[in-house]
């Protein structure tokens, strides 16, 4: 529709331009009587050159009058140009009838004339400008036939005729007939603009005909800057319509490709305005350039076209929001989720408010389909915050919760879904939400919460699809919460009511576990036997046998217990390493018990069984197996068999085999056990064993096995036959900087201790740092950190000290060193006047009973903190607690008396202060201590002050 208006306006625009000249034509100058032919010719040429067409008509008409009947060949030839220019001038001034007469006269006189083909085209134009489409078309058609050869030589003109014909046909909406013409223009136009114009019109035609393949072939042309498509309302409307149809037919890929051809409303307007400006400049330029009349006319028609498009556009409502939404949707439908997510997000931010929520939801939905999931999380949260209770609130919150569950971020699952339930108590997926909350709570060891959610799920929504899962995980939560008797019925319910559930087998086993946990050993045994019978191939069989073994142990059936442990061990692959180790070592305990209860060959049989048992364990050597302990068992069993030599030899072989690996920590334990055994062995055996060890050292030194050599030297320091000189030599060989890279943890610890003792802080620190680096999570690292912290304190390097002490108190939270660390930290903070931190550290020491011995100091320091805070009353209380409750710690108690007295004195309670000091002085427990002397001095001063 818009195109039709555009075209008629186009004609009008040209006519308006020509009409301006018509007015002048009425006053066209006539040549004067005295003017000569030469004068008139000259004036005509000048008028033409200056674009003064009205003037030119007068002069040219005069020349025609004079020479129209001339028979002189040269005149006839000259008159060809005169007729051509006269016709052209009439055309340009809008006197189409006159123009036609002159052009027809031209063609009558110069049928094969030099410009006949051009004149024929102008003749057609004269009709076209008067909207006589049929007449114009007839003339153009005739011209194409008549002047075929001429047009062959002038492709530009030929294409122009085709363009004119297309304009005539389009004026009458004869789109089909334009197609072959447009194809030819498209193929042969020598310039960008006409080719592009043809491409745009063909696109409109093909879009309307839904010949999409043809449309796609034109796409590159349509996207050229300054293309006709960039400002054609008709094309954009056709694309919009075609896109809508395709979208409705769910042909999203085609819809997307077609929609993308549509220029946004504002851009279309901008392009049209810009194009008008450019074309107007071209018109100006062409008007200054003689001889390009057809190009000028064509450009003016383009200006008119663009103006008409602009006018048409103003009447069309803005279609952008819907267009963009559909483009985004189409991207989503063809799985280009990255694109759709971004597009929808932009529409959410900048599009119409009434669709913002939907757009954010779709952006989130798209973002869930690709990695990384950062955007999905961000947009999901944004939706939940921006649209609480919104239309898609439930699916968004559930999906977000599921996504967090996928990455096992259980606290976030709980956070998101708890909020979801608060906002949307009747959540559309409430069962799933409750289940996830229950499961996440279980994983976070919030067992009561887990039970609450899961029980609610199965109570409020009976028959839900998660019912069996709910019962199972409720049981699990209760089991892990050690509420065994409460848990058992849930597992039973799974077994009884949901025989097809994937949890049946597990539930049966867990129910037995609950019975075991509840010390219902007979019931547990019965259930376990039933389980073993029903699931002979179960992965849980090993654990079942383990439990049966433990139950047998409880019942004092030691042989049975050993048999069950062995059955568990047979299926050891299904046991985790902790249970696997447990089974081995517990079985060994039982076998040793049996050996201890027997005499003679039976005892020997059990001890040999232990040896065989651990040889299998050592041979299997599963990751995280406790080999040193197993070796210890073998060695000690040989020892118990009375075979001391073999026992020590066994240890020696283990040392030889594993001693080269500085990271094999258990070997250090064996070394220590070897030393103990060797010392307790018969004299000859011991001598031989120590000699054996020296030979091993010699061999290791020869082979350059420094780790093993260092270990053996450390052992040989305990050799009763070693001289002091020899021991000193070993010590020197070990306590050296170059031993550090080779030292086992035991050797490193020795270097650390010896160097510290000798005042070689650098070496001690280097050994400690190596321990921390190589044996980070061991107890050795703890003492290393304490040493480094101490050095840091001495060097006034508080940050380093705090770093180590913080690790000690956090990682080894219940160790005695943690208490020391806290005290040291507190002292550091106190020195730095960070009183709150200091107070916290000292108070932390007061907690565990194991740290009782550190309490006096902690209390004393708390008193100091209180003094620094000028809380003398609190300080006095802390000091008093020390000598009242921890009088056994005399040093701290004595100090506490003195400090309490000082506090009381500061509070002007001199009498109480004096009583306190007197108590210290009178107590025989503190006699001779320097604090007593200080107390006497203070007392004296107080007496003087109080009179």
């Amino acid at each position: 529709m818009a195109r039709t208006k555009g075209r008629s306006s186009n004609g009008q625009r040209t006519i308006v331009f020509l009409a301006l000249l018509v007015a002048w034509a009425a006053v066209a100058p006539q040549s004067r009587a005295q003017d000569t032919v030469a004068d008139v010719r000259k004036m005509a040429a000048q008028a033409l050159a200056q674009g003064a067409y009205v003037d030119a008509i007068g002069y040219l008409t005069q020349l025609v009058e004079w020479f129209k009947d001339s028979r002189t060949p040269s005149i006839i030839q000259e008159m060809e140009g005169v007729y051509f220019n006269l016709g052209l001038c009439y055309l340009l001034v809008g006197q189409f009838g006159e123009a036609r007469n002159v052009f027809e006269e031209y063609l009558k006189r110069y049928r094969r004339g030099f410009r006949a083909a051009e004149v024929a085209a102008f003749l057609g134009d004269s009709h076209r400008y008067e909207k006589k489409w049929a007449e114009a078309l007839a003339i153009y058609r005739k011209a194409l036939k008549e002047y075929r050869n001429e047009y062959l030589q002038n492709q530009d003109l030929w294409v122009d005729v085709l363009v004119s014909m297309v304009r005539c046909l389009l004026a009458e909406e004869k789109w089909k007939e334009t197609e072959p013409l447009l194809v030819q223009i498209f193929r042969f136009a020598p310039d960008f603009h006409r080719r592009n114009w043809a491409a745009a019109l063909l696109t409109i035609y093909y879009l309307n005909e839904r010949k999409l393949e043809n449309v796609y072939r034109l796409v590159p042309l349509l996207l050229e800057p300054g293309s006709f498509a960039s400002r054609s309302v008709a094309l954009n409307m056709a694309a919009l319509q075609a896109g809508d149809d395709l979208f409705a037919d769910e042909q999203y890929r085609d819809a997307l490709w077609v929609y993308r051809l549509v220029y946004p409303h504002d851009l279309l307007q901008l392009n049209a305005e810009r194009q008008i400006e450019i074309l107007q400049k071209q018109v100006e330029m062409l008007q200054r350039t003689p001889g390009r009349i057809r190009t000028l006319l064509r450009t003016q028609e383009s200006v008119a076209e663009a103006e008409a498009e602009l006018e048409a556009l103003k009447k069309i409502p803005n279609y952008d929001p819907e267009l963009f939404f559909r483009i985004a949707r189409a991207y989503m439908e063809i799985r280009r989720y990255r694109e759709s997510s971004e597009f929808f997000y932009d529409l959410y931010k900048e599009g119409p408010r009434d669709r913002a929520e939907e757009c954010l939801y779709l952006s989130f939905h798209s973002a869930t389909k690709f990695q990384p999931t950062t955007k999905a999380f961000a947009r999901g949260h944004e939706y939940m915050e921006r649209f609480p209770g919104g239309k898609w609130y439930d699916p968004v919150s559930l999906t977000l919760g599921q996504m967090y569950a996928n990455i096992k971020d259980w606290p976030k699952v709980i956070e998101v879904l708890t909020t979801a339930l608060e906002v949307s108590p009747q959540h559309e997926s409430i069962v799933e939400v409750l289940f996830l909350l229950g499961y996440a709570s279980f994983m976070e060891e919030k067992f009561e919460d887990a039970v609450r959610y899961l029980v609610r799920m199965n109570t409020d929504y009976v028959g839900n699809e998660r019912e069996a899962d709910g019962h199972y995980w409720t049981g699990m939560a209760l089991l892990f919460d050690k509420k065994y008797e409460e848990g058992m019925p849930y597992f039973d319910r799974v077994v009884r009511n949901f025989p097809d559930s994937m949890f049946v087998e597990d539930a049966m086993f867990r129910a037995a576990s609950c019975a075991f946990g509840a010390s219902l050993f007979e019931e547990s045994q019965t259930r376990l036997f039933a389980f073993v019978r029903r699931y002979p191939e179960s992965k849980l069989l090993a654990e079942a046998f383990l439990m049966l073994a433990d139950i047998a142990g409880v019942f004092g059936q030691v042989r049975e217990a050993v048999r069950f442990y062995e059955q568990a061990i047979e299926r050891g692959e299904d046991l985790n390493i902790e249970l696997y180790n447990y089974a081995y070592f517990r079985a060994a305990d039982m076998m040793k018990e049996l050996a201890g209860s027997e005499e003679g060959p039976e005892r020997t049989r059990w001890l040999e069984a232990i040896i065989a048992h651990f040889r299998r364990y050592i041979e299997k050597n599963r990751e995280d197996s406790n080999l040193p302990m197993a070796i210890y068992w073998v060695g000690s069993s040989y020892w118990d068999l009375g075979d001391q030599e073999r026992a020590l030899a066994y240890y020696r072989r283990a040392i030889e085999e594993y001693g080269r690996d500085r990271r094999a920590m258990g070997i250090d334990l064996i070394f220590e056990d070897w030393v103990g055994r060797a010392k307790a062995a018969e004299r000859e055996v011991a001598r031989s064993a120590w000699a054996d060890m020296r030979a091993l050292l010699s061999n290791a030194l020869q082979k350059g096995e420094r780790t093993l050599a260092l270990r053996i030297m450390r052992m040989l320091m305990f050799d009763p036959s070693a001289t002091d000189v020899e021991k000193e030599a070993f010590r020197r060989a070990i306590v050296r900087a170059d031993s550090i890279p080779h030292g086992s943890v035991g050797v490193l610890e020795m270097i650390q201790i010896e160097a510290d003792r000798a005042g070689d802080k650098a070496l001690a620190a280097a050994a400690a740092e190596e321990i921390i680096r190589e044996f980070t999570e061991t107890d050795y690292a703890l003492s290393a950190r304490m040493l480094l912290a101490r050095y840091a304190v001495e060097a006034n390097d508080a940050p380093t000290a705090i770093l180590h002490l913080d690790i000690v108190r956090e990682v080894y939270a219940t160790s005695p060193e943690a208490a020391e660390a806290l005290l040291m930290l507190g002292r550091l903070y106190l020195n730095r006047r960070e009183l709150e931190k200091a107070e916290k550290a000292f108070k932390d020491v007061l907690g565990p009973n194991e740290w009782r011995s550190h309490r006096p100091e902690a209390l004393f320091r708390l008193g100091e903190v209180a003094i620094a805070q000028r809380k003398f009353e609190s300080a006095a209380v802390y000091f008093e607690r020390i000598y009242v409750m921890y009088s056994g710690h005399r040093q701290w108690a004595a100090k506490a008396y003195v400090e309490r007295a000082k506090c009381l004195s500061r509070m002007y309670e001199h009498r109480k202060a004096m009583e306190t000091l007197q108590e210290l002085i009178n107590s025989p427990d503190y006699a001779g201590m320097p604090e007593v002397e200080e107390a006497k001095d203070l007392l004296e001063r107080l007496r003087q002050r109080t009179g």
């Binding site: 072959p180 799985r335 990384p372």
Partner: protein, 365 residues
């Protein structure tokens, strides 16, 4: 040190321009400037006058009037100029003919043979050479890209062509007044990336204004960002930038297909081969008869031949039921076999001349 680097860069630019000029000279005579300068109609205030531009003196324009005695020149401030019409005439039909046949180097040469002397003056407002300079730069880059994928001998010429494209686009980029001036500057940055001068490109990109949606530079800006990130192997970030470009700028032929291809490359690096395949198919189908189309078709053929996207994707049951699910494998195989539909339009350069065909009206001139 700083001055020395600046000098090196000026020398480099001059060398590149000299190469571009060399190309131009090889094609045709340069604009008449020997001794006399570039004839230009300059509008200052309301007066238009004829001058001969001689060069630059700092930021000023060095010129002489037609009547100045030899050796006498004057200067004017570029911002005092309202309009400049250089005395140049580019044979636009000839340029168009080369471009249609994708003879990019010849098309660029055709333009530069005329426009090269104007390059130092493109900042003069409303001049008639900037459009051409931008076109020449774009064509040179296309020539370079084609060379980069050609025979070993052709590949050797690619860096020099990229450098020439950079020089021309950088000169056009100074036309801040022009609608596509800023875009030209960003295309120059793309040339730096093509040349592997990533740090320079990054610095340049940091200097340009970040465009808003709807700006003419939006697509090319994010394309340049994406290419830079891709070159630095930051594929997720490159993908985001490519998406910014391709979803918000679908009407710029010089950025849209490049952005699509960049996104396909990113999808490939992110191991999403189905999407890689889909986008190459899209470009091959929508940009037929172009360099983008040819490259995408070749890559698509490779993906299909090597079964890189053979794994079945999850299909929406409803779509299958209603028959709206696309079997992309089948669709693409059909496309590659060339039997995807009617071919009324041949977008490639015409193999025949008008008149060689003898068809009804219009087709038989």
């Amino acid at each position: 040190m700083k001055r020395s680097r600046q000098w090196t860069s000026i020398v480099g630019l001059a060398a590149s321009l000299a190469f571009a000029a060399g190309i131009a000279r090889a094609q045709g005579p340069a604009a008449p400037a020997a001794g006399g300068g570039l004839r230009t109609m300059v509008t200052l205030d309301v007066a238009t006058r004829e001058v001969f531009l001689l060069g630059r003196s700092g930021g000023d324009i060095l010129y002489r009037t037609p009547t100045s005695p030899p050796g006498v020149s004057a200067t004017m401030k570029p911002d005092a100029v309202q309009r400049a019409e250089f005395d140049i005439t580019v044979d636009d039909n000839a340029v168009f003919a080369f471009a249609r046949k994708r003879q990019w180097l010849q098309a660029a040469q055709k333009i530069l043979s005329v426009v090269q002397p104007t390059l130092p003056f493109l900042d003069l407002p409303d001049n008639n050479a900037t459009d051409w300079a931008i076109k020449a730069g774009v064509y040179l880059r296309k020539a370079a890209q084609t060379a980069a994928q050609g025979s070993p001998a052709e590949r050797e010429t690619a860096p020099r062509l990229f450098a020439s494209a950079y020089a021309v686009l950088n000169a056009a980029g100074r036309a801040e007044w022009h609608f596509y001036g800023e875009s030209a500057r960003m295309r120059a940055i793309l040339c730096l990336i093509d040349l592997g001068r990533l740090d320079e490109a990054e610095k340049e990109l940091a200097r340009v204004r970040e465009p808003d949606k709807g700006d003419a530079t939006y697509g090319v800006y994010h394309l340049a960002r994406g290419e830079l990130l891709f070159a630095r192997k930051k594929y997720v970030e490159a993908m985001d930038a490519a998406i910014q470009s391709l979803i918000y700028e679908t009407k710029d032929i010089e950025s849209f297909p490049d952005a699509l291809i960049l996104s396909a490359r990113c999808y490939e690096e992110l191991n999403e081969m189905h999407r890689t395949r889909d986008i190459y198919y899209e470009v091959a189908r929508l940009f037929r008869g172009t360099d983008w189309g040819d490259r995408s078709r070749a890559r698509l053929r490779r993906i299909m031949r090597d079964d890189l996207a053979a794994e079945a994707e999850e299909t929406d049951i409803a779509a299958v039921f209603f028959g709206s699910a696309e079997d992309m494998k089948e669709v693409i195989e059909k496309f590659l076999a060339g039997s995807e539909g009617v071919k009324d339009i041949d977008v490639d350069a015409p193999a025949t001349e008008p008149g060689a065909e003898s068809k009804p009206e219009g087709e038989k001139p």
